[in-house]
């Protein structure tokens, strides 16, 4: 195994990490802000992929990748107004059950609209081809996925740390009751964060679509890794989401290289270790 092999694995790990980051960041901030568990987050990712593939079929890739986040955000808005808002005061068990049910509802809606066959989304011409790096040829599109994740990370980081809106969100995550006593409409803040989180899930689905075949189950398949990322990283923090994503991406990718027989359990062992040593994850939000 020479150096180029390791570079290849490194890039694969980074690419998987960035995709998971796009998904987990929305979910973790939604949870941190309102202690709301949205298990249907993965289903929104699948819908993003389907919408991107459908739009792209007639209007091209870029239209698809732009429309998908907006369409999923609008769906999130509808879900919020008609379902999630009503669930806010019910306990976590009821929320988990309802959003778990939502997974199946959305799965069947996807099947009704698009059928059971896999859709494909072609890589746009601009991002087709490969670049050679360290003796290997790596698809340009995978670099693009990493770049999207990185841009999202930087934009969200700046938004959260440098703006008044970001300070309000952090205050709400730390202590929503006190934030409300200072005149902050935490409910509206949550609504905004929820829609942005949904848009990010849609974006993740759209950029992931060309890498894999678009099937109804893709949302369920990605849900467990996303939840593992959040539990390892710690709830409610951007830092937790990125660190958790990197750990998952690297353990999964390099685990398969070093110990293929153990690859599938390795991440769960790590998860268990983190839960024993740091029950609230590596970088949880500070408030409680």
């Amino acid at each position: 195994m020479d150096i180029s092999f390791w570079i290849l694995q490194l890039l694969n790990a980074l690419q998987l990490s960035m995709l998971l980051f796009l998904l987990s960041v929305g979910l973790t901030v939604i949870f941190g802000l309102m202690h709301f568990v949205n298990l249907a987050h993965g289903a929104l990712y699948a819908l993003g992929a389907y919408i991107a593939a459908s739009v792209a079929a007639s209007m091209g890739y870029w239209a698809g990748v732009l429309v998908a986040p907006f369409a999923v955000a609008v769906l999130g808005l509808i879900l919020y107004q008609f379902l999630i808002k009503r669930m806010r005061s019910s306990g976590p068990m009821a929320q988990v059950l309802v959003t778990f049910g939502l997974i199946f509802a959305l799965l069947d809606i996807t099947r009704l609209i698009w059928g059971d066959l896999a859709l494909a989304l072609d890589v746009p011409e601009l991002l087709a081809g490969r670049v050679s790096i360290g003796g290997i040829e790596y698809p340009v599109y995978r670099f693009f996925v990493m770049a999207v994740g990185l841009v999202a990370l930087v934009v969200l980081h700046l938004m959260l740390t440098k703006t008044q809106l970001g300070a309000m969100i952090r205050a709400g995550v730390d202590n929503d009751k006190m934030a409300a006593c200072l005149g902050i409409n935490v409910e509206r803040l949550f609504f905004l964060v929820f829609c942005v989180g949904c848009a990010l899930a849609g974006l993740a689905g759209a950029v992931a679509a060309p890498l894999l075949s678009v099937v109804p189950e893709m949302g369920v398949d990605i849900l467990i890794p996303t939840l593992i990322v959040i539990v390892i990283g710690g709830l409610g923090s951007l830092k937790g989401a990125i660190v958790g994503s990197l750990i998952y991406g690297f353990v999964q990718t390099f685990g398969a290289v070093f110990a293929p027989q153990l690859a599938s359990v390795m991440i769960y062992v790590l998860l268990a270790l983190v839960l024993v040593m740091r029950p609230s994850g590596l970088f949880p939000a500070k408030g409680g």
Binding site: K177, A180, C181, L182
Partner: protein, 235 residues
């Protein structure tokens, strides 16, 4: 300014307040005294909308506010300094202050609170501006919650046990600061266990016992009334 009428409230099924009525008059400092568990903090939380009143009414500036959400109550001009201080640990001291300063500065007019005035009144906060909320001492946290509340340029300042757990020297500083606010004419509603602290600041006093107002009068009267002190405060 604040009229609480026959308020009943509590936590879930547990009723804590059975009949609380009191009036906070404009420009005055009103202290609520009473033993632990009498319902003092519960009264404040119900006023803020953090707890839902079972019955009774809360009026502020002539408007009915019971049943309103906390952010709307705050928006009407009531600033709340909770017992637990509730500084946001993920925000720096400056960010904690800006949270209210940026949204409420315009309410103060020319004589309102600004960051500069806050730093003048609490120089320690200027030194600690870049520190995060969880890096502060108890006294610094208490100054920050009061400063954060003042930057809302409120009509009414509500304080829940501002001296609890603080060193005597800090208690003195806070006393001085609140006296200045009183002189400036700010209306204050204060819950306090520290009898001397409360009665030296307050004009009016209500004593809550077992969820009801059992005594009302002036701070001077209660200082003289040893029997009431003994019965309801255990001083």
């Amino acid at each position: 300014m604040l009229d609480i009428n026959e308020l009943q409230s509590g936590y879930g099924e547990t009723q804590v307040l059975f009949d609380v009525s009191l009036q906070v008059k404009p420009g005055r400092v009103h202290a609520i005294l009473g033993r632990n568990g009498a319902g003092k903090s519960t009264t404040l939380k119900t006023v803020m909308g953090l707890l839902k009143a079972k019955s009774g009414a809360v009026e502020f500036d002539g408007e009915q506010i019971s049943g309103r959400q906390p952010f709307k109550v705050a928006d009407m001009g009531i600033a709340y300094v909770p017992e637990t201080r509730d500084i946001f640990p993920s925000l720096t001291v400056l960010e904690n202050l800006e949270l209210t300063q940026r949204r409420f500065q315009h309410r103060g007019g020319d004589n309102g609170w600004t960051l500069e005035k806050i730093y003048e009144a609490f120089p320690r906060l200027k030194e600690r501006a870049g520190n995060y909320g969880d890096e502060l001492s108890g006294g610094e946290q208490q100054m920050l919650t009061i400063a954060r509340a003042l930057l809302m340029n409120p009509k009414l300042l509500i304080l829940d046990e501002p001296t609890e757990g603080l060193a005597p020297i800090i208690v003195k500083q806070i006393h001085k600061q609140l006296s200045v606010l009183k002189q400036q004419g700010l209306t204050i509603l204060l819950v306090e266990q520290n009898f001397g602290f409360a009665t030296s600041l307050a004009d009016d006093v209500s004593i809550i016992g077992k969820g009801q107002v059992v005594w009302r009068g002036s701070a001077n009267e209660i200082r003289e009334d040893k029997a009431t002190q003994h019965q309801w405060l255990g001083v």
